[in-house]
Amino acid sequence: MFASFLTGAVAMGVVYLFGCIGETLIEKAGNLNLGIPGIMSLGALGGAIGVNLYFAIFGTGDIIGIFLMIIAIIMSGLFAALGGLLYAFLTVTLQANQNVTGLVLTTFGVGFMKFIGSSMDQSLLTRASRSIKTLFTFYEDLGVFGQLFFSYGFLVYLAFILAITLHFVLKKTKVGLFLRSVGESPQTADAQGINVTVYKYSAILIGSAIAGLGGLYYVMDRSGGTTFVEANIEAFGWLSVALVIFSMWKPTIGMVGSIIFGGLTILPNYLGISNVQLKLFAMLPYIFTVIVLIVTSILDAKTSKPPQGLGINYFREER
């Protein structure tokens, strides 16, 4: 029981983890992207289009998992990155307000996914989902241990690999150092000879692509490809943004946080409560987020501060 809850928590949390890693990368470059829900939706849509593309190329016979995965990931990342490109162009190049641009992107992305997705063939997604849900087929032989660590699809492992990679890039490499300096103080970074625009664009594009995988993961893996249009990706997007604050902009804490958030999301299903109470307990992750927001702001610890230049566009000539 507990093992299945924990497995479920990890599996659910990965949706948030993708969003969190992507947003962390973007925020480290000094841009607050409130378009994450839209970007995740675009990623979900792109992934679904990728699946359709796969079946168009390889036919609807036996599924070759690896090709399916590659095409879905590429398409999902591409769609999400296009959303990110729009955001980057507006906020970095055209100096538009970041919050407003993000909200427009959310409105657009969520609407676009549901609009295009509503006329899409769901059965293909369901079929595709079945073939990618487990990466290691031997996990059942390993008992609880196998269930906890080897029962997931490829994207789950990818999320954790990306989180650890991002941690190392930010902490141990020159690129990471430069990126952080761009987020903290673009003026200083610019004076140091760092190309602020290139860093911001790259971070936003890569971050968006990663966040988009969260949408792909949800519709393809977590939900089994069935609830595409009804998918509440918007809410997941907001929780991902909140997870960034919870993680104090650290991908490693984000990994743990994602499991907590995921656990709270699925907890009501494990409490053995009635359908009526289930509706009420659906607010758990949101209440937890509110508490997290309040506690982090009260603690106001030095380590939990966002990048200093967050949310402020960089006008080069205002030095």
Binding site: L94, V100, F108, F115, T197, L293, I294, S297, F315, R316
Partner: protein, 391 residues
């Protein structure tokens, strides 16, 4: 770095800040941007629906104009949401929670309407009292929902954007729960409350759209006067412009912030009450749709001007009704075409803002440099890693 060897690079584009653009030109650019985005959207609609452009345009206008009262009501509600968030936004307080605030207000008045049905049925005066209770309940609930994040924002600097967003989802879960309870666990929702007796329904003269429209217009006028003519409104604006200035001149910033959010919440409460008593007599999690978000965008991109906000609200209501007719006619299953179009329109407005604020100049092979004080910003692909000022 070796300065001598570094070539002076003239960017292909330079942008200057504009101060001299006539008002009509700015309006023209905006209208042009909106027109372009609508054309793009209709092309998307054409591709997805695979219908003739003439048909699509016909459905669009038919859907928007066939029920003019409904059109005005939708526009008014959107404007109402805009008015609810406007005072807070003037303070640079990102209230994303208008949806949740309206929902809880409406929810509380639904509960009162449901449980005090017998009381309200006794006489005409009792029914009036019931309406008063519903109104008070709605107002109070919305104010509480709006003020909670504001309190934490003022005292601890809690991020209000995410806080208010989360409050939306909490409100939505409450609505789902209460609906289940009111339906005695049998269905997801009790549907229209007091359908048979119409207790707690506010009967509007002319038709059910009249009162909400009039009330929201009055609210808009009030907010306009409040923001432009009163001390309270002025203080909120000063706070938004510079919190340090406000502190320096001795304003109680905490009090101003909470007071303004009480006003925001109260307007949400009024809308919630209108939803319950006049418009829907029922509630569900999608009652507010994404009106709260759209209102944020409208307020921001109308520059907080109530008249422009009214016009934009009307245009968006027109669009939404028109596109819902298109999606219904082609059986697309979901009316999200309007969100797509609204997104595209706002994107193009954001882009057009740039051209209103800045002038772009293309540099063709020039040796001399631009006057430095006029250069506003530089296109990204042309920025050199190190830009040295060579005298």
């Amino acid at each position: 770095m070796n300065k001598e060897n570094k070539k002076v690079h003239t960017p292909l584009f330079t942008t200057f800040k504009r101060f001299d653009m006539p008002k009509w030109q700015g309006i023209l650019i905006r209208v042009g941007a909106i027109a372009i985005s609508i054309i793009i959207s209709l092309i998307i609609a054409m591709i997805v629906c695979q219908g003739k452009p003439i048909d699509i345009a016909k459905f669009f206008f038919e859907g928007a104009t066939i029920r003019p009262w409904k059109l005005f009501l939708d526009a008014a509600i959107l404007l109402g949401f805009g008015m609810a968030i406007l005072p807070a936004f003037k303070m640079r307080y990102w209230n994303m929670g208008a949806n949740g605030q309206v929902l809880v207000g409406s929810l509380v008045s639904i509960i009162i309407m449901f449980y005090l049905k017998d009381f309200g049925m006794k006489s005409g005066f009792n029914n009036f009292l019931l309406l008063v209770f519903m109104f008070a309940g709605s107002l109070l609930a919305s104010i509480i929902w709006a003020v909670i994040p504001a309190i934490f924002k003022t005292f601890f600097g809690t991020n209000e954007t995410l806080f208010t967003l989360m409050m939306n989802y909490i409100a939505s879960a409450l609505v789902a729960y209460v609906n289940y309870v009111l339906a005695k666990g049998a269905k997801e929702s009790p549907g229209v409350i007091n359908m048979d007796t119409q207790t707690g329904w506010l009967h509007s003269p002319i038709n059910e759209y009249f009162i909400p429209i009039v009330v929201i217009i009055l609210v808009a006028v009030f907010i306009h006067i409040y923001m432009t003519k009163t001390k309270h409104g002025y203080e909120a604006i000063v706070l938004g412009d510079s919190i340090n200035t406000a502190r320096y001149v001795g304003m109680n910033t905490k009090k101003i912030m909470i007071r303004t959010l009480i006003l925001s919440g109260a307007i949400c409460g009024i809308i919630g009450f209108l939803f319950t008593s006049v418009i829907n007599h029922s509630i569900n999690t999608t009652t507010c749709g994404s009106l709260g978000f759209t209102a944020v965008l409208i307020a921001w991109l109308s520059n907080f001007n109530p008249l422009i906000m009214a016009l934009v609200s009307f245009a968006l209501a027109f669009l939404t009704l028109g596109t819902s007719k298109i999606t219904a006619s082609y059986q697309l299953g979901s009316n999200n075409l309007s969100s797509v179009i609204i997104g595209l329109i706002f994107f193009s407005i954001l882009i057009s803002e740039f051209f209103i604020r800045y002038k772009v100049k293309i540099n063709i092979k020039r040796k001399e440099k631009e006057e430095p004080q006029k250069v506003e910003k530089v296109e990204p692909q042309e920025i050199e890693t190190v830009k040295e000022e060579v005298k």
